[in-house]
Symmetry: C2
Subunit: 309 residues, 2 copies
C-alpha cells in the first residue's frame, strides 16, 4: 500500500482527533453498525453525538434501513438517549419517496407503487402523497394458492395502476409477494430499491438485508433496480439540497465500504471516517479490490471522546 492511500487511525490520539474535527462542519452518520447493532447501543454513543454538537457540528443520520420511517427513527434515537428530531434523519425510504414524487412524477392513473417492504416505506410514501399497495397488507402475508397462480398469470389479480415496484428490507418476504412483484415488473413497472445492502448487521451478527430480499426479482427480470440509498448519488444530491451543506466541509461516517465510504468518496466529500463496529475491517480496504477506502478510521465512534478526557 502506498502511504498516501493509508487511512489515518485516530483512536487514542486526541490531537489527531481535534485536527479531524476541525476540518468539518457537517457529519453524515450511518446508524446500523455505527451507533448500534440491532437493538444494542454501543457504549458512549450519546456522549459522542453530544460532543460533535457541542463543537458546533451538524449531525445528519443517513441510513439505508428502510424498515423505519424518519418519525420511527426519531423515537428509536430518543429511546437510546440520543436527542434528534425528524429533520436530522435521512433514510432510504424517504429518499425513494422523494424520488418517486418529485423526480419521476408518474402521470395518474398509472402512478401507484407496489411495495415489497415494511411500514417505514409506507409512511414515507404517504408523507409524499404517493399511492401504494402491498407492503404490510395482511392479505399478502400468507401462502400462495392455486387461485393466486391463475390470477397472477392472467393478470386478473393485478392492479393496472401500478407503475413502480419499490423494494426494500422485508421481514415478511414470501413467495406470493415475490411472484406478485415479478408480474408487475414483467408488465413494465419501474424497478426501484430503497437500498441494496446484502446483509443487515444485528445482534453482533448479520442477517438478510434489503438487497437479499429483492435480488430474486433482479434475478428473474435480469435487470438491477435503481437504488435510492447509499451509495446512490441521487441520495447525496437530495441530502445536499435539503441541508445546504458544503461538501468539502462534510464527512461521511460509516462501517461499510461499498455503501457508506463509497457514498462519501463518490460524493466528493471532504472526508470519510470508517468505524470497525460493523461490517468491514481494515483488511477489507487494504485489499486490492476494495470498493472504496476511508480517509480516517477509529475502532468505534466513541473513540472520538478521547478529546474530552
Amino acid at each position: 500500500m502506498a502511504s498516501s492511500q493509508s487511512a489515518k487511525y485516530l483512536s487514542g490520539d486526541a490531537s489527531a482527533i481535534n485536527d479531524f474535527l476541525d476540518k468539518f462542519d457537517t457529519f453524515l452518520i450511518d446508524c446500523d453498525g455505527v451507533l448500534w447493532s440491532g437493538d444494542h447501543l454501543f457504549e458512549g454513543i450519546p456522549q459522542t453525538i453530544d460532543l460533535l454538537r457541542s463543537r458546533g457540528k451538524r449531525t445528519v443520520f443517513v441510513t439505508n434501513n428502510s424498515t423505519k420511517s424518519r418519525a420511527e427513527y426519531t423515537k428509536k434515537f430518543a429511546a437510546k438517549g440520543i436527542s434528534c428530531n425528524e429533520e436530522d434523519v435521512f433514510g432510504s425510504s424517504y429518499s425513494a419517496a422523494v424520488y418517486i414524487n418529485r423526480i419521476m412524477k408518474l402521470p395518474a392513473p398509472r402512478n401507484k407503487v407496489f411495495v415489497l417492504g415494511e411500514v417505514g416505506i409506507e409512511t414515507e410514501l404517504q408523507a409524499e402523497n404517493v399511492p401504494f399497495i402491498g407492503g404490510t397488507d395482511p392479505a399478502l402475508r400468507r401462502d400462495i394458492t392455486d387461485a393466486d397462480f391463475a390470477g397472477l398469470a392472467d393478470g386478473s389479480l393485478l392492479d393496472p395502476d401500478v407503475g413502480v415496484v419499490l423494494a426494500g428490507l422485508d421481514y415478511h418476504i414470501n413467495y406470493l409477494k415475490l411472484a406478485t412483484a415479478y408480474q408487475y415488473l414483467r408488465r413494465g413497472a419501474k424497478f426501484l430499491a430503497t437500498n441494496t445492502d446484502s446483509t443487515l448487521p444485528s445482534h453482533h451478527a448479520f442477517f438478510p438485508g434489503a438487497g437479499s430480499c429483492l435480488i430474486p426479482l433482479t434475478n428473474m427480470i435480469r435487470q438491477e433496480p435503481l437504488a435510492l440509498g447509499k451509495p446512490s448519488q441521487a441520495m447525496m444530491d437530495a441530502v445536499e439540497g435539503k441541508f445546504q451543506l458544503d461538501r468539502s466541509r462534510t464527512c461521511m461516517i460509516g462501517d461499510r465500504l461499498n455503501t457508506d465510504i463509497l457514498f462519501g468518496v463518490e460524493g466528493k466529500l471532504g472526508g470519510t471516517l470508517a468505524v470497525l463496529t460493523g461490517v468491514n475491517k481494515k483488511a477489507d480496504w487494504e485489499a486490492n479490490e476494495a470498493p472504496a477506502r476511508p480517509a480516517y478510521y477509529v475502532d468505534g465512534l466513541a473513540d472520538l471522546l478521547a478529546v474530552t478526557k
Copy 2:
C-alpha cells in the same frame, strides 16, 4: 447464422421426424414447459410418449423441479394419462440426495442437511438415509422474532450437526428460513442446490424458480452453490450411470437453452431437441450470446405425432 449452426425444424415434416427418431435409442425429456405448464397438460403428449415407446425408445423424465419426489412425479404422470414408473424419473432432488450420500459421504455426526425447499427434497433424502432438518417443518413457517435474531446470532438455535445447506424451490420461503440457512453457511456448511432455474413456468406464465428462492443466500455469502440439476454434468454422470445409456444414441428434449439444451450439448449427447412451449424461443438461440443451440426444434413435442398420420 451459418447454416451448420441452424437448428433443423421438424414440425410438419414426417420424413425428417422419422430420420430424427432413427438416430436415437434414449430420450431424456424435461417436464415443465415440455409436457405441461403447471397443471396444464399440452395436447397430444401421452400419445407422443406412447409413440416413442412403440418405436422401442427408452424415455427418461429428467426434471429440475425439486418440489416433487420421484414417487410423486409418477403419480402426476399417471393422473395425466402418461404411464411411467419411478425408475423412469430422474429429478434434481434425487440427484442431490445421491450426491450427498454417495459422493460427499459426510462423516457423522456433522452430516445433517438443512433443507430450504419442499417435500420432494425431503423424500429423496429419506430414501438415501440422509438426516435433515428444516424443509417443511411447520416450526419454521412463521415470522422471525427477537428471540430468533438472538438465538441465530449466538448460535444457540443452530444444530451443530448441520454440514450442508441444500436449497431448491420453496413455496414457503421466508425471512426466518433464509436467516437460518445463512447462519449455517457462515459457519462452514457446504452450499448445494437442486437447480438454479431463475423462473418456473406455470399457468402459461412464469413464477419464481429455485434459483430465485436461493439467490439471497448466494448474495450474502458471495458464493454460488454446487447445483445438482441440469445443466450440471454431475447429474448427467448419474443419469448415465443409472441407465447405462450410449450418449451418442441419446437425445435431450427441453424448452430451456441454459439448462436442458446446454445439459445435452455439454454432455456430448447425440442430439438435442428444443420445444417452443416453454421459456425459450427461436430468436434466443439465434442470438449471439445464446448459452447453447439445439440441433432440432419443434413447435411442441406432440408435433412428432406427424409420423403416425
